[in-house]
Amino acid sequence: MRFEDVDFGQDLPELAPDVGPEAVRRFAETAGMLHPRFFDAEAARREGLPGAIVPGIMSQGILAALIHRWAPEARIQVLDTTFRAPLLVGSKPRCRGVVTDLDSDSRSVEIDLTLMNEAGETRVVGTAKVTLP
């Protein structure tokens, strides 16, 4: 994907990431996030959460991966994500992105990012500024 191939309003191909218990445990171990709220639904509920939750920075990394699937040589300069509501471990989320701005001088684009659960409820929103070849 080169800058010339991108149009304003272009959708990135949707991604259905794995946030099952094994995937979340693998991420949490590599990120050193060993809090029970990421593995143990009962422990999470004692904190007032609806169940075991996906770490916010895992969701953020998944949204970066969405951009790299679309444009493998993209350089992400800024990635800003807001964790609106908990994403549950074992849910079936979908990630979407749409190009909202293009700057031909810097060959960069801005992308709005959304991560939703299977009910279509937004869990994480974000924006990215990305430079393309």
Binding site: T30, M58, Q60, G61, L79, T81
Partner: protein, 149 residues
Amino acid sequence: MPVDVAELKRSWTGFEFDRVEFPVTAEELAAFARAVGESAPWFVDPGHPEFRAVPNFTTKYHGRRMWPPDFPRLSKHSVGFDAGKRVEVHAPIRAGDVLTARSQIHDIYEKTGRSGSMVFIVHRMEFSNQRGELAAVVDWRFLQQPDPD
């Protein structure tokens, strides 16, 4: 007592309160990338000549303390929660780098929602490499709801 957000900001922002070094290994770079679903060889294959960190790799690092000494708690009942992360990528992070992370409170601001006042505290970590180059800036927005009067 309502929280004086302007006074909090004046008193607590803009000074370094923690500094930690993190040596970066090829194994942790590749493991983090795989765990978020990346597959490009420059993120997952340590033998690739352009092997480097994914953009939000530095979000996994934590300092020795979350807040400056004596930073006030706004609620007796809740520790608050992580409301978001903003990452600026300045220079590639590669295996063998030693990152120095400097922490400060970058901003404190208030929003009013349906459930009352929400105070956002922005904890900034600036990561520079062993050559003194700025590699990344991570802003962590932490939300606290002050106790009602």
